[in-house]
Symmetry: C2
Subunit: 585 residues, 2 copies
């Protein structure tokens, strides 16, 4: 297959588009792979579409390898199934909603759990039909608040979503692990650098989930990795190690002090040091103070419940982590009116004892372990209490993840410390359990003839986003660099000499490369200078570039490897075999 | 490639779905190819998706063969470009409209002329870049008033749309003819029986267009074909032959009669016969009377203009034909208030002379040619005029197509008579000219360095609809029958014997067929009777079916040809070579 650049629908741009911030966005637009049609809505031009199809092919092959069967559901979906699970409203503004000419409600599918569940329910009724795993590669719609970075976070995008239905939890675990392996195979084939991160399930529901994050400084997601072990997690899912409890015997008594000039944690430490107060025989640190955050927690269908959250004074609260810990409840900060309604709350001086004495639930950071001593609010304006010992003077109702995660924090299971990194979500796999199958009352006759509700897994992979990720991870300052598996062409041939013989030789080379089964991009543009052609070749990023130029008089052509930057002069007659060897085709 | 039916996501149905009327709808649902998700919105299950991909492949190959380049535009489109051409409102209720979270207007693309025009305008500026033809195979949305017949007329469907941009009309003609040939190649490869019909351009605009109609009694479109020549046209586009003018010399004078009991054309004929009035020396027929229909014609942006339309008395007016003749003007029938406002109009007795005398434009059917004599209204209540001669007593301002077309009408250019047939639109090609390129002010520097507006063609082909058409044209009473080019599998192998040796032999045959490059559907379901398997094979419609059954003891297998119904016993060892020969692979 040969594409001639003289007639290819392509215009490369020398300048970055004004709205582009990250390299993948700049380069995919400059190289003519995509064009913006509306905010977060892109068109795929010939080269971009070829890469997209190649990525789809890899995904399709690896999904087929685990026995997943391809189908294709609509994007225009009726409201009812999403009403059944509550997601019609839960999705909020991220859902594109519309009405048809009869006034019926529709949505543009953001993910298809509801539809796959009701589809399988409609077809199958016996355990003999299970397990079944279905997938589609399909256009999805999410009305992102901040569509950004070109196709990295679009409002119309292409996703591979698959759904497994199994009769029991072991089946779900198998289907989940199969997807995990398939995702690894896909990302490995593409050469993506990624981490598999423990994740929270969020609005999707279910028990376990992991995210595949492509490592990138331009990623929107922060995740952690352990320095000494195979552990990665997104920030919401990080588990803070619980220190061992310590004995409370022999610890000094709690003492209340008047602290009129200590409204903040820092001023509290300064006050304690000026007073000569010590903890474990050393001067007080910020880590010896205890914050008591007041929030309201609302379980689904319930009333807001006032709750205290205890955090070491050197940590901020991370509301996303707190919300993830309390999912599916929602969390909001207490307001002035809550303090007014509860006069026992001394604003700025709230402590765990006053909360417990007044029946308010107290949740604590895992570091607030039995036997630790704290300086905290004394439940009285301008007063703090010193030597407040967990497990003696107060006992949290439960432990919770609510503190910010920091580089250098201890990793779980003794795997050293945590490093913070940024990534781009390219896959997310969920063990959903029975949330959706129960919502749709999917009853299947099991091996004993009894009705049983199947378990379900849901597995997403960002197909169009992967192309941005590849551009992001593999580009250099000159342009794109595609891995052979998904490159728009195998070989790029450039005529770099006006000599008619060179042109003929290039044409013959192109024909031979194509006949050998390679896909060839042929820069045959007659009035374009070699310099511009070279720059375009670098920008477009085809892995192998043959230059038919001055050297041709000596029977050689130049072969440039776009990924490594290496350039070799090789005999014209060896060009095809060399190309075949390099591409592995 | 082997698909085992024991694990295939497939449930065939014995009964027709309740909402299905046409065979393709019934069979595609019963055979588990598609499932309804919402009115006019369907899901593609594994077998259906395979046929869809095969059809897409044929379309892609033939579009590539004429140099069209594939790209992919979004389905979610901003309002502005459609506002530029007026189609945001012109489309009426057929357009799915929605708002994003910021309140911006969007639509789901029904066809992409606007987007392709602005895309090409954004990339190209010189004649050197032209001609260019772009296509996409993409999901389209139209909120049909009556979605029907499953995927035959859906609200979400897959279309190939392409757009050519050329510097002049000759270029447009070339691009148009190339598409015409590509469409013929596609439909011929699929074995579709179709007619290429002269068509009107309708709301799309432009000068010339043709429709490709698949011949089917369940088609929604009526078209005509000539008995003695290569002429077909949809009813709106039928051209009525103009008879030669005749001499007016020597024809009897026009005479006004009082006709109190002749309010209809039939009673008028009865009156004339009772009076002994003759035309050309023979008794009066209905075809000698002349209707004078009063309508109001509104040019875009103009005021309604009163207009008379003259039709032979044996013909009804076909308002769609009249509107197509007057496109882009709209047409409505005159109302009582129009008669009141124009007292010279004698309702029921309007004639061409009164109209002309009062400055009303008169349009006439081509049969109202110079030298023909008519009995028509005398512009006075209860009076008609006899021997009213066209070209002597009145002269139409223009000729127009407004009469119903009937089986047996004369075909143009002496090609015999017309037959009326029904068809399904599977393609429509348009010479748009400069309607869209002018709307977007697309200025390209021509060879002389002058700014020039390119010409454009637009070419649609119903990809998902084609699958319904193939089912409609090729099924038999037992089920679907696919042409080899797009069948979901090349071969279907059925184990029809519980003998373990037959099972092993079938498995080995399946492996060898797959190794030979054939795609094999393998009915290995252990607890399903041979009778059910045979019925399913007939329903599913794979072209070649191997039955490994009783005969296997003698070393033979049965090979059934689904299209012809032929069955042969062939040697097991010859099965692969026979299959390869039959499929042509």
């Amino acid at each position: 297959m040969i594409t001639r650049m003289s007639s290819l629908f392509l215009r490369t741009l020398r300048d970055d588009p004004a709205d582009a911030e990250v390299p993948s966005h700049k380069l995919l637009v400059r190289a003519g792979y995509v064009r913006r049609t509306a905010p977060g809505v892109y068109s795929w031009l010939p080269l971009g579409l070829r890469v997209l199809r190649n990525v789809e092919k890899v995904v399709r092959e690896e999904m087929g390898a685990i026995g997943a069967q391809e189908i294709s559901l609509p994007a225009l979906l009726p409201r009812e199934p999403y009403e059944t699970t509550g997601r019609w409203t839960e999705y909020g503004d991220a859902l594109f909603r519309l009405k048809d000419r009869k006034g019926q409600d529709y949505l543009l599918g953001p993910t298809h759990e509801e539809l796959f569940t009701s589809l399988v329910k409609g077809e199958y009724s016996s355990y003999k039909d299970f397990p079944v795993t279905l997938f589609q590669i399909q256009t999805k719609y999410r009305d992102e608040e901040r569509p950004r970075a070109g196709i990295l976070r679009g409002r119309e995008f292409i996703m591979k979503d698959s759904y497994s239905f199994t009769m029991d939890d072991e089946g779900l675990e198998e289907a989940y692990q199969a997807h995990r392996r398939a995702y690894q195979a896909i990302f490995d084939r593409l050469g993506v650098e990624y981490a598999i991160c423990a994740a929270t399930s969020g609005a999707m529901g279910g028990s376990a989930s992991e995210e595949f994050l492509a490592i990138s400084p331009n990623g929107e997601d922060t995740f952690v990795r352990a320095t000494d072990g195979d552990y990665a997690a997104n920030v919401e899912a990080v588990v803070t190690p619980h220190p061992d409890p310590r004995p409370v015997e022999g610890l000094p008594e709690a003492v209340v002090y008047r602290t009129p000039d200590a409204p903040t944690m820092d001023t509290l430490v300064a006050w304690a040091r000026s007073e000569g107060i010590t903890v474990d025989g050393r001067p007080v640190e910020l880590t010896d103070t205890l914050k008591c955050l007041l929030v309201k927690v609302t379980e689904p269908g319930g009333e807001p419940e006032l709750t205290g959250v205890l955090l070491p004074g050197d940590r901020e609260a991370d509301m996303k982590r707190l919300e993830a810990s309390l999912e599916p409840a929602t969390v909001e900060l207490a307001e002035d009116k809550d303090f007014e309604a509860n006069p026992f709350l001394a604003k700025g001086y709230v402590g765990p004892k006053g909360l417990a004495d007044n029946g308010v639930r107290v949740l604590a950071d895992p570091r607030v372990v039995t036997g630790t001593s704290w300086i905290t609010g004394a439940d009285r304006k301008n007063h703090h209490v010193v030597n407040m010992v967990a497990g003696r003077d107060f006992t949290p109702d439960a432990y919770i993840e609510a503190a910010t995660v920091r580089e250098g924090d201890a990793a779980p299971a003794g795997m050293g410390t945590l490093t913070l990194e940024r990534g781009i979500e390219i896959g997310h796999i969920f063990q959903l359990g029975r949330k959706y199958t129960e919502a749709f009352d999917m009853q299947i006759l099991d091996v004993n003839g009894k009705r049983s509700v199947p378990t379900m897994g849901s597995y997403g992979l960002g197909v169009s986003r992967l192309i941005a990720v590849l551009a992001e991870q593999m580009h250099d300052e000159k342009g794109l660099r595609w891995p052979a598996e998904v490159a728009p062409y195998d070989v790029h041939v450039v005529i770099a000499n006006k000599d008619a013989a060179a042109g003929e030789a290039a044409g013959a080379l192109v024909d031979r490369l194509s006949e050998a089964g390679l896909e060839v991009l042929y820069d045959d543009r007659p009035k374009v200078s070699p310099g511009v052609k070279f720059k375009d070749a670098e920008l477009l990023g085809v892995p192998l570039v043959f230059i038919v130029g001055r050297g041709f008089a000596d029977g050689t052509v130049e072969l440039r490897d776009r990924m490594t930057g290496d350039a070799d002069n090789i005999a014209y007659d060896d060009a095809v075999s060399t190309a075949l060897g390099r591409t592995g085709k």
